[in-house]
């Protein structure tokens, strides 16, 4: 039985997110932009490079036939996961999506256990029963990725309801994509959160396509955040490729939620560089469009900002890049050496054991 009221510190191989010190420059009162604080900037950059290198490694393992199943890469979207999770405490929770590697890493998951899950190992987060689409790390407040579009949105609302009933000041960041905003679950869940003033931040990562269907075709409103007013909650659209902007919006929303002010819808505009999944031939978008967004690499943009702010030197940046590469290499090596998942205990795992 997992008691999520006792959430442990994140694993040692991911530096824990921290609140920035007071020194506002366009940031919410009492906070500093991540790029302007040397320690937070280093953490943010490390989380993003770890996410990028993790997914590049996964892409490579698939291409070489060394990884099974399917996966969805968030390359190009690293800033939204990182910026949002930097605004959280370790005991806050998230729900994630099928494109969730970045959320897991930003919330403090172990790279080795994530890689082990994708490599179908018994040491993986789900012991080989979930794979890429179901990684959860309940100990670090990650209530789980989800293979169903919008599946995690009502669950996030329920976790927030639990925290409210328990008298805790924890919040939940609910990640979902633009596609999820057209599911019925989105409507029901946002309304419940609003009428009960629940501490949820609905973080829509608008990466412009639900598989092949563009947001231009899927929405008759200019911004997904415009829908917030229909539920009686604030809505804000930010540059999802800017860690600082996502952090600022989520920090404001978290403060409001912790104070009992209820939910916020934050739309982070970003772009998925890679295809939806393995089968994607990119027939629904142009090379020019992809190239244009690759010019707006959220990681390189953040490095530039942090260097200009004097938070990180060129040597610092190079050190973070090297560390990320080494951490992923170590994770792949350790996962490869781990025992495979075994079918022997499958039937024992369907139900949780009833204790007297």
């Amino acid at each position: 039985m997992t008691d999520s009221r006792h959430i442990d510190q994140p694993d040692a191989d991911a530096e824990p997110p921290r609140q920035a010190a007071a020194n506002g420059t366009g940031q919410p009162a009492g906070t500093t932009a991540p790029s302007a604080d040397p320690e937070v900037a280093r953490t943010a950059l490390a989380l993003m490079w770890r996410t990028r290198r993790f997914e590049e490694a996964v892409d490579d393992l698939f291409a070489r036939g060394l990884m099974h199943g399917t996966m969805h890469l968030s390359i190009g979207q690293e800033a939204s996961a990182t910026g949002a999770c930097l605004a959280l405490r370790p005991d806050d929770a998230i729900t994630s999506t099928h494109r969730g590697h970045g959320h897991c890493i930003a919330k403090g998951a172990s790279l080795e256990r994530m890689m082990a899950e994708l490599l179908a190992k018994d040491t993986g987060y789900c012991r080989g029963r979930g794979g890429s689409m179901h990684i959860a790390d309940v100990a670090t407040g990650n209530l789980g990725a989800n293979g169903i579009v919008a599946g995690g949105i009502p669950i996030a609302v329920g976790a927030a309801l639990a925290y409210q009933l328990q008298g805790l000041d924890r919040v939940v960041v609910c990640f979902f994509g633009d596609g999820a905003a057209n599911e019925g679950a989105f409507h029901e869940a946002l309304n419940l959160a609003a009428i009960w003033s629940l501490p949820v931040i609905f973080l829509c990562e608008n990466n412009k396509y639900g598989m092949s269907f563009s947001t231009e075709r899927a929405f008759a409103v200019p911004h997904i955040a415009d829908r917030a007013s229909g539920y009686g909650m604030p809505g804000v659209t930010v540059d999802g490729n800017s860690v600082d902007d996502v952090f600022a919006a989520v920090t404001t929303a978290v403060e409001r939620a912790r104070a009992g002010g209820g939910p916020t819808l934050v739309e982070a505009e970003t772009y998925r560089w890679k295809g939806h999944s393995k089968s994607d031939k990119n027939v629904y978008r142009t090379r020019d469009e992809i190239a244009e967004w690759r010019e707006r690499d959220p990681i390189l943009a953040f490095e530039l900002q942090a260097r200009e702010a004097g938070s990180l030197t060129d040597d610092d940046v190079q050190a973070v890049r090297d560390e990320a590469r080494a951490a992923i290499r170590d994770a792949v090596q350790a996962a490869n050496a781990a025992p495979d998942s075994e079918p022997g205990h499958l039937m024992d795992s369907v139900f949780a054991e009833v204790t007297a």
């Binding site: 929770a93 029963r129 989800n146």
Partner: protein, 355 residues
């Protein structure tokens, strides 16, 4: 409700017609309706454990569409007896999330037909989370919902969908048929660390029976033999249990002695008492209200056929089920759509005469 609407304040009120078992010795039998027994279980679980709360449509001041939650709103307040908008997917999902975050939610879905609106959260989320996450988390929630025909509510308010749920690994499926079992099985379901689909037959809500005071549980996964007889074994679920018991009395007057078995928990199924009984009687009559095609009793028939009981059969296995048609409205049509006592007697007699 009175014309003057009051908004729930979330503050507990003085008890009204409370059916708590306080004031009685533990185990003392009182005569309660099935609905009162369900309410008593919820009230006792909420009084004993702050993590337990209930949410659903019109369960607060209104007291529930079938009156099951009754005065619980006044006893526990609107935070823990939580009225919701008409959002089945949202509220079942909220129960899943609350369960993941340390609560013990009970969600009432007003008619079991409306679970169709919430199926993603039931089937893809609640049922799979424990397994899919490698055992990191549990979903200790109970989804209570009335099922069945007999109220003239037609095709979208009368179905018996138990086989759907029993087909999904990770869900426990419970169908209590007496007031005492309703209370004891519900208390055990609330204790259970897994999602439980708790199916209450709406024709049983007003049925009365002895119910023990106190927190005595009835274990899930224990099949109950409700009548012993050597000539045939009748396996029945839901309202068909009482119809089978009535049929057994008629059969006894004709010199045919029937065993009547009620699985109570459809999944995970305790099939041993069924297989043992069929081995002894050599005849199996399987009775359900739901349409026969791919129904729960098809599973019972298969388990008998796969077991050594097959070699002891004196007659073919016989299923008596609802028609493979949507439930109609007109009383005569509705009655004709599901097994009745006379039909059970006729089928049982034919089965005995066949061999």
């Amino acid at each position: 409700m009175t014309a003057q609407l009051e908004r729930p304040t979330g503050q507990p009120r003085a008890p009204q017609n409370s059916q708590q078992s306080q004031g009685f010795e533990p185990g003392e039998l009182r005569d309660l309706t099935y609905a009162e027994a369900v309410r008593e279980a919820i009230g006792e679980a909420m009084a004993a454990d702050d993590r337990v709360f209930i949410l659903g449509e019109d369960i607060g001041q209104y007291g529930g569409a079938f009156g099951v939650t009754g005065d619980l709103f006044h006893r526990f307040g609107g935070e823990r007896v939580r009225d919701t908008p008409i959002s089945e997917l949202g509220i079942v999902g909220a129960a899943v999330g609350a369960a993941l975050a340390g609560m013990r939610p009970i969600v009432e879905i007003q008619f079991s037909d409306f679970t169709c609106q919430a199926m993603d959260q039931i089937v893809n989320q609640a049922a799979k989370i424990h397994f899919m996450l490698g055992g990191q988390a549990n979903v200790p929630m109970v989804l209570r919902t009335p099922l069945g025909s007999g109220t003239g509510a037609a095709g979208q308010h009368s179905q018996s969908l138990e086989a759907w749920f029993a087909h999904v690994p990770g869900l426990k499926v419970v169908m209590p048929t007496t007031p005492a079992e309703a209370k004891g099985l519900l208390l055990a379901s609330i204790d259970d660390p897994n999602p439980v689909i708790f199916l209450e037959h709406k024709l049983l809500y007003r049925e009365r029976g002895p119910v023990p005071a106190g927190a005595e549980r009835v274990s899930l996964g224990v099949t109950q033999v409700k009548r012993q007889g050597q000539d045939l074994t009748i396996v029945a679920t839901g309202v068909m249990v009482s119809r089978s018991l009535a049929a057994a009395e008629t059969l006894a007057a004709q010199g045919i002695q029937a065993t009547v078995i009620d699985p109570c928990t459809l999944s995970p199924l305790d099939d041993a008492p069924i297989l043992e009984s069929v081995s002894q009687t050599g005849r199996a009559l399987l009775v359900q209200e739901a349409p026969g095609n791919v129904g729960f009793m098809a599973e019972i028939a298969a388990r008998i056929a796969e077991s050594p009981a097959l070699y002891r059969l004196l007659a073919r296995i016989r299923r008596l089920s609802g028609l493979d048609a949507p439930m109609p409205y007109a009383p005569a049509l509705e009655t004709a759509s599901v097994p009745q006592v006379d039909g059970i007697v006729t089928a049982a007699t034919a089965l005995v005469e066949e061999s």
